[in-house]
């Protein structure tokens, strides 16, 4: 059982060393949901997913059923693209779902493809996941061999091909329109919307892009019903979710819990989850939902893991990755390293992101190395404000995608929380933590 009696919806097979094999999958209830789904109409399945309240697990948290219903009714072919290009710093859940339970992802993909009436789906997998790519390729071949993919699946007349496609090292390809450009064989640069992918996506055809974790929920939802899923969590954050917990906790790892009923304090301190802060140290700050998310301080420890509540408090649960920093962590160094990431991963298409990111990185670096000036703090905030006007969350938009406006998050929140620490770097001519 997952935490506090909630069902293991996503991680039910993690106790088995052979969780990735078709034998183990079938022996633990696998490929039972797909024939159930195929006996229902696609429209009923879309409705079931709407009832479940399932929201996208890639970062934006958009309603999955709603996203599906944006597809125009009579335009074919249409495509399903699975986003397995996990790259948000400190997120490692899709990595585990792909490597350890590839058949669950394939079954979820097949259910979604049937609901969306598409016969070709692409699994875009991060190129660095060599083992995941091998296991997924193997699993797809096994699914074909057993008649779960290909023609006339479970004698329903439904036909589906799934192609595993390896990325090649570009964080931006996790952004859904950049991913589509990459899948079409181009540089991964985001597209201007509208048109949205639901109308003109892959090859200018209606396309749904869903995250790996999102689709891995579907076998359970089909078997147990959308209402059972919606009974978990609260009215807007339903079901369970995987938290990628890292940093200064005793037990870093992926943990599946019910949404909204667990707080950050539970996640960090419960003996079954994070198990407390190493060495009994204090929480100085934490990243609540990926490197793009504004930081929280210890005053937010009792905030529930609820998408809307976290947003109301000025940040996001994003990709579900939580990084805990103890009081010995240098806030400047942490913010600099996160900014260095964004500067490296900017695709270069939009000026504020391409130029702003790299200049912010340079200024943070000189402060950390002891060559900063007091006026650098205002300079940082000014450049941040040019990237994300108003410095709040969700950020003001100045670029085609949200990568650029996400860069300021760690910078302005760390300056607000730890201004004295920044000034100490300037006054002492170096990092006080080193």
């Amino acid at each position: 059982m997952a935490f506090r009696g909630a069902p293991d919806i996503l991680f039910s097979r993690m106790g088995f060393d052979d969780s990735h094999t078709v034998d183990r999958y079938v022996r633990t209830g696998g490929y039972e949901a797909l024939p159930i789904a195929l006996k229902r109409s696609p429209e009923e399945l879309v409705e079931e997913v709407k009832i479940s309240g399932l929201r996208g697990r890639g970062g934006a948290g958009f309603s999955a059923g709603m996203k599906w219903s944006f597809l125009p009714a009579d335009i074919f072919p249409r495509y399903l693209v699975v986003n397995g290009d996990e790259g948000e710093p400190a997120t490692f859940k899709d990595h585990q779902l792909i490597e350890r339970d590839p058949h669950q992802l394939i079954e979820g993909t097949a259910i979604a493809a049937y609901a969306l009436k598409c016969s070709l789906a692409f699994l875009y997998i991060r190129g660095e996941f060599a083992l995941g790519l091998e296991r997924l390729t193997q699993a797809v071949a096994e699914a074909y061999a057993r008649g779960h993919l290909g023609r006339d699946i479970f004698r329903s007349g439904f036909e589906l091909d799934i192609v595993v496609h390896a990325g090649a090292g570009a964080y931006i390809c996790g952004e859904e329109t950049a991913l589509l450009d990459s899948l079409e064989g181009h540089r991964g640069e985001p597209r201007i919307r509208p048109p949205f992918p639901a109308v003109k996506g892959l090859y200018q055809k209606p396309t749904v892009v869903n995250n790996v974790e999102t689709l891995s929920n579907l076998p359970w939802i089909v078997k147990h019903g959308g209402a059972a899923y919606a009974a978990l969590g609260n009215d807007k954050s339903t079901g369970t979710r995987i938290w990628s917990l890292s940093g200064h906790v005793n037990r870093p790892g992926n943990y599946e819990t019910e949404l909204a009923t667990v707080t950050f304090r539970d996640l960090f301190f419960d003996p079954e989850l994070g198990g407390g802060i190493r060495g009994g140290d204090e929480v100085k700050a934490f990243v609540p939902g990926g490197a793009s998310a504004p930081w929280f301080g210890p005053d937010q420890l009792d905030c529930p893991l609820d998408l809307d509540e976290v947003q109301r408090r000025g940040s996001m649960l994003g990709s579900g990755s939580v990084v805990v920093m103890n009081e010995h962590t240098c806030a400047v160094r942490a913010a600099w390293r996160i900014t260095k990431f964004f500067a490296h991963e900017s695709c270069g298409k939009c000026t504020p992101c391409r130029e702003g990111g790299s200049w912010l990185e340079k200024v943070l670096k000189r402060i950390e190395l002891g060559a900063g000036r007091e006026e650098d703090l205002d300079l940082l905030l000014d450049v941040c404000d040019n990237l994300a006007p108003g410095l709040s969350w969700p950020p003001g938009q100045t670029t085609i995608c949200v990568l650029g406006p996400s860069i300021p998050s760690s910078i302005y929140t760390s300056i607000r929380m730890f201004r004295d620490e920044y000034l100490t770097h300037v006054k002492e001519g170096g990092c006080p933590f080193r």
């Binding site: 190129g127 660095e128 790519l133 074909y144 990325g167 064989g185 790892g253 990755s321 390293r337 695709c347």
Partner: protein, 186 residues
């Protein structure tokens, strides 16, 4: 280096058939070239351009966007050390520094024996095992300096050949896609 060999041209043809548009096969074919030569050379890119009805400039322009495609020869083993936020907290920079001293190269440098290329990379999604690294995209977690030196010794003495193939070999399951068989009615 070389154009794609006949066996890989055959695999390229099969890969192209998986997609509604030829150009979609560009990244897979670049991976194929890297599998053959350990990097993506100019001759291979020209060959890929021919196979996909693209110009060589379109192929290079796309390949250069992606950090995994190495357009110059590199070592047999690409050692990628993460220093992003979770690894920073657990000694990723110290590990990188140790790797530099131990191998005697700076990031993006290759050892004189041509065995190792070192690089600093962004988050590898292995953060519960920080600090982590990859060798030819195979994961190693919670790596101490001693672990690092042992790992390099194991690689030098070819003790890890089963787990870590040479650079460029990504997905070892290279069978034709079952879809082609299904569509042929076989």
């Amino acid at each position: 280096m070389a154009r794609l060999d006949p066996e890989r041209v055959q695999r390229a043809t099969e890969i192209v058939a998986r997609y509604p548009s030829r150009r979609s096969a560009l990244l897979p074919l670049l991976h194929l070239a890297q599998e053959q030569d350990g990097h993506v050379g100019e001759d291979a890119m020209e060959h890929i351009a021919e196979l996909l009805d693209l110009t060589p400039a379109e192929v290079v322009g796309t390949a250069s966007f992606y950090t995994m495609f190495k357009r110059e020869p590199i070592g047999t083993y690409l050692v990628s050390v993460c220093t992003n936020i979770a690894c920073l907290i657990d000694g990723g920079f110290e590990l990188l520094e140790h790797a530099e001293h131990s191998l005697g190269v700076r990031p993006d440098g290759t050892t004189v024996d041509g065995l190792f290329t070192l690089e600093e990379v962004e988050c590898l999604a292995h953060c519960d095992k920080a600090p982590c690294l990859q060798v030819n995209y195979r994961f190693f977690g919670s790596v101490t300096p001693d672990d690092f030196d042992r790992l390099c010794d194991d690689l030098r003495s070819r003790r890890l050949e089963r787990d870590v193939p040479r650079h460029g070999v990504l997905n070892r399951d290279t069978r034709p896609h079952p879809m082609s068989a299904a569509r042929d009615g076989t």
